[in-house]
């Protein structure tokens, strides 16, 4: 069973994404910012990271950059989830190593399709 880490400082957003992902059979952990996410990832590498941009202590861009610099855990796909929609934000996301950049709020079916795609799973 694939393990996903939700990284977001908003409790309701974490719960929302958790409900969607657990409903589809994934195992889910949470972190409220990039530092906590790194600590959890170093303890147990996840199969996919769902990453908010704006968080206290360490933001989403910085987290993904750090993730990519730790050889043991660098490989997993990271989906950046953001309220911001400027092209420069997208560029920045790919620059730091995100695989995908989606705008909040994500509809459940779109989120699941992207997650399955990145995890190499078939659509149903």
């Amino acid at each position: 069973m694939k393990h996903i880490l939700i990284v977001d400082d908003a409790a309701t957003v974490r719960m929302y994404h958790r409900t969607i992902l657990e409903g589809a059979g994934y195992l889910v952990d949470v972190a409220i910012n990039g530092v906590e996410a790194l600590e959890k990832a170093l303890n147990k590498p996840y199969d996919l990271y769902l990453v908010d941009v704006n968080m206290p202590i360490l933001d989403g861009y910085s987290f993904i950059r750090e993730l990519r610099s730790h050889a043991d855990i660098a490989q997993a796909p990271a989906v950046m989830v953001s309220t911001e929609a400027k092209p420069s934000d997208q560029d920045k996301a790919f620059e730091v190593g995100a695989n995908l950049y989606i705008i909040k709020p994500a509809r459940p079916e779109y989120l699941l399709n992207y997650v399955r795609l990145l995890l190499g799973e078939s659509r149903t």
Binding site: Y16, D59, S62, T83, P105, A106
Partner: protein, 203 residues
């Protein structure tokens, strides 16, 4: 080899300096000097504008963090005006640290919260709502309800509803129901509003 003791003495410490000297050191070439200057300015409220100026120029995160701590400790309207400017920065880390700092300054933030929540930029409005997350001020729920009743942007409302899950009282019930009706097609809003409604409990 063994355990040794060498008495910690303040002789080894850098000496205490006057404010004018400290302010000059804020832009020293050496990061350690800048950090110490920012730290020692804790005792000098008149230094707020110098600290704000350096904050906007400072590239070294370890210095920036100390400037932010000192500004937050000093408080006052000059500090908060500087922090508000940081909300518009291109640097996500700086924006978020400014939000954190402002959360600790309820008295200075309260008079400007109304304006921030009406800013033209929805990202600034989202950040303003985020500041309410830990703000210790009696008006927090009132501000959040004004957002969910009036803001056109789904993400601004979404951020506010998340907080109402924690601080919402019975006064939130009708505004939450109106929000649900306004954003019928948004699953996140329905989810978040339902959660907040559930948590309102008995009157």
């Amino acid at each position: 080899m063994a355990f040794i003791t060498q008495n910690i003495s303040s002789e080894n410490a850098p000496s205490v300096r006057k404010p004018a000297e400290l302010i000059a050191q804020l832009s020293d070439a050496d990061a350690l000097s800048r950090r110490w200057a920012a730290r020692d300015l804790l005792l000098h409220p008149e230094a707020a504008s110098a600290l704000v100026a350096q904050l906007q120029a400072e590239q070294e995160v370890s210095v920036r963090e100390v400037i932010l701590t000192t500004l937050t400790r000093l408080g006052g309207s000059v500090a908060v005006a500087g922090l508000v400017d940081c909300l518009r920065s291109e640097d996500a880390h700086l924006r978020n640290e400014a939000i954190q700092a402002m959360k600790a300054l309820p008295l200075e933030v309260a008079p400007i919260m109304g304006a921030l929540l009406m800013d033209n930029d929805p990202d600034v409005r989202i950040m303003a709502v985020n500041i309410l997350e830990s703000l210790r001020h009696p008006q927090v729920e009132e501000w959040l309800l004004a957002v969910i009743d009036n803001d056109p942007e789904v993400n601004v409302c979404g951020t506010a509803v998340d907080l109402l899950g924690e601080v919402g009282s019975v006064a939130s019930r009708d505004p939450l129901l109106r929000l649900k009706a306004r954003f019928l097609d948004e699953p996140y809003i329905q989810f978040a509003a339902d959660l907040a409604l559930k948590r309102l409990g008995k009157a």
